[in-house]
Symmetry: C2
Subunit: 395 residues, 2 copies
């Protein structure tokens, strides 16, 4: 059964529709709180809640069949407070739920379920926010703060997790599907014989993103500490967006090179050969910094016109030097049962070298795409809205 | 042990170095075939083959430590034909393998292991190229053609595969890691009770990409036919790049809207809420069409300024209408034991409705990222180069 709004979500009615009017091409609405909305007839036709598959709740209306002369004949408000739209050329009435309509009023869009990134450096932050696993799973408010930290800070630590792969699996189930790579579904970060990447040695790792060598860098990285008794091996995080912002403001030419000219990344083994060509900083719409791609040891020879070699190396040297400056670093030691999660496309991670003869160091890691995180946040919100509706219908 | 070129690849020497010279900042080389190369000292220092981890074969040299006054003192050609570079401020000699150097001469770059896309429509193509599974696994040349079809045409059919999930798994192992999603690691496309997406019903599916609702649309989609005895249910493919090219040439304003203004995609279920906001056509560097994102039934209400609603719906209507025109469609019936593979970010897929009462229709599907395919192609090339080297050393 389709609910009255057409989809799986819940839309508490905070404001009712006071009046509606139409000129055939648009509907104007005034709400009980004085807010005004304007909806185009094409948009309303496309989103008609009865033109939705009753089970999948996906749209069935085919935009290719849209009739641009199919204007609105009249509108009215039903007894239940719905907006009723009568079409000029179809014996069809579309009935819009007021809570749904207000949520989808673009002018009033409070669809801010996903927060914005807030960049940091070692002055503004000392350590990733940390949360107790028990509280996360028992208190939706803590769960929300935990997930929000991952979006806003791009990192957080989950404490008191069972120090085993199973402990890590429990965390992933709270967020979403694990992304497998050539390093496995879950990977063990420890000094190995015959390592196929620097992570599996004892050497220092400079700040980097994982898998800059792939078309899609993994979104979230989880590193769960099972054992950490060695001398050295401290964890370091750097907010790559913060560093990029500084380059943008202080060295605009360098920033321009880093955002426009692609570098050559690569990771090769005896059985795979992954490469990707991309600028080290990616800008989105309106110049927003969207992604950093960094990994000194994950590069293959730069292929670029001779004239660009020198300016590109100079730009990269500046970026790499800043990434390694203390003022950008969070420096901490991950303890047994702590799981570090960070946004791998924003926050660079590094580690100090360690000495295996002094103890054991074993992290278990995996990747999860960022949209799994965003889906998890929306589901928390949906459950909240459901509670509001349930409590009001019980009143 | 590091081989003499530093990495895992093989570099047959087709041309030897005739002479080299340096002005301190660059090295100029003339080859036995008359070709000339020019290498910058920063690039050479960064790529010094002895500054590579002996096991991971990843670079150890830290670009942040690069000394821009570290010029080249002199160069020479060794008895083995290597380029020897003596540095001015380091007691360090870098020795470059001639095959490696020629491969990495950007001016002569024949690093075209990955072919270009060649777009098609129903005039230039009737059906995806098809290949026998037995020949793919027994003949590297057929395997290469099979993988190339996926890059050039963005689709192919693999025939005579065991009509089971195991048959599909065998194919994935030939390409790379499977990408799991909320629909599972492998998904069964058949009419189900309580479907959570249109694919799991009997209804017609208009041309679409899978998961336009995700930040990263899956790269390759594999659909393996286990059973297909129903009336209807024919498969349809459309080259989305071809359609986009036509819009670009005939309706530049529409093209501009489709490439710049984001639409709202979404896929919701009782437990997940994935959404993504992106233009329907993505352009890369120099305006190259890089990705299409289409799914009429995978949209959520468009959030855009009122003034853009009408032009955007008109642009989308054109795109959707073209996608549904016969002249762009490959129309065929997938038979038992045939596995269709296509580039989900380029080639739209669709199906006619079918009637479950007339038989069975069961496809098993999964996703693989495109860079797994590219890695597989590079590995074929590497094995070829290895053969050349082995045969010449046996002479």
């Amino acid at each position: 059964m389709v609910n009255e709004t057409g989809d799986f979500d819940f839309y508490p009615v905070e404001h009712s529709i006071s009046c509606s009017s139409t000129d055939g091409k648009k509907v104007e609405i005034e709400w009980s709180d004085g807010h005004q909305s304007k909806f185009h007839f094409l948009w309303l036709r496309d989103n008609c809640p009865c033109c939705i598959h009753p089970e999948t709740r996906e749209p069935l209306f085919n935009v290719a069949s849209i009739d641009e002369d199919q204007l609105i004949d009249s509108t009215s408000i039903t007894e239940e407070g719905f907006l009723e739209v009568i079409w000029s050329k179809e014996s069809h009435v579309s009935c819009f739920h007021p809570g749904w309509l207000r949520t989808n009023c673009f002018l009033d869009i409070s669809n801010k379920s996903i927060p914005e990134a807030v960049t940091w450096d070692s002055n503004t932050k000392k350590k990733p926010n940390s949360f107790n696993w028990d509280e996360i799973i028992s208190n939706p408010e803590t769960e929300r703060e935990w997930l929000f930290s991952l979006v806003e800070d791009g990192c957080c630590i989950t404490k008191n997790v069972e120090p085993s792969k199973d402990g890590l699996i429990q965390i992933t189930k709270r967020i979403g599907v694990v992304r497998e790579t050539n390093f496995g579904l879950f990977f063990n970060v420890e000094a190995k014989t015959g390592p196929d990447t620097a992570a599996y040695t004892e050497i220092e790792l400079p700040p980097h993103t994982d898998l800059p060598t792939r078309e899609y860098q993994p979104g979230l990285q989880l590193l769960h500490c099972l054992k950490n008794s060695v001398k050295g091996g401290e964890s370091i995080l750097v907010d790559g967006f913060r560093v990029a912002e500084e380059i943008r403001s202080k060295e605009p030419e360098t920033f321009n090179l880093l955002t426009t000219v692609p570098w050559d990344f690569g990771n090769r083994s005896t059985v795979t050969d992954y490469r990707w060509k991309a600028p080290m900083i990616t800008l989105g719409i309106e110049g927003k910094i969207e992604e950093v791609r960094v990994g000194n040891f994950l590069r293959v020879p730069l292929q670029v016109d001779f004239e660009l070699v020198e300016p590109m190396y100079k730009a990269y040297k500046l970026f790499e030097t800043l990434n390694q400056e203390d003022r950008f670093k969070l420096n901490f030691r991950l303890e047994e049962g702590e799981c570090l999660i960070f946004d791998n496309r924003r926050v660079l991670h590094a580690r100090n070298s360690f000495d295996s003869s002094t103890g054991e160091r074993h992290f278990c890691g995996c990747y999860i795409e960022r949209d799994e995180l965003w889906s998890a946040i929306r589901m928390l919100d949906r459950r909240n809205r459901q509670k509001i509706i349930n409590s009001s219908s019980n009143e």
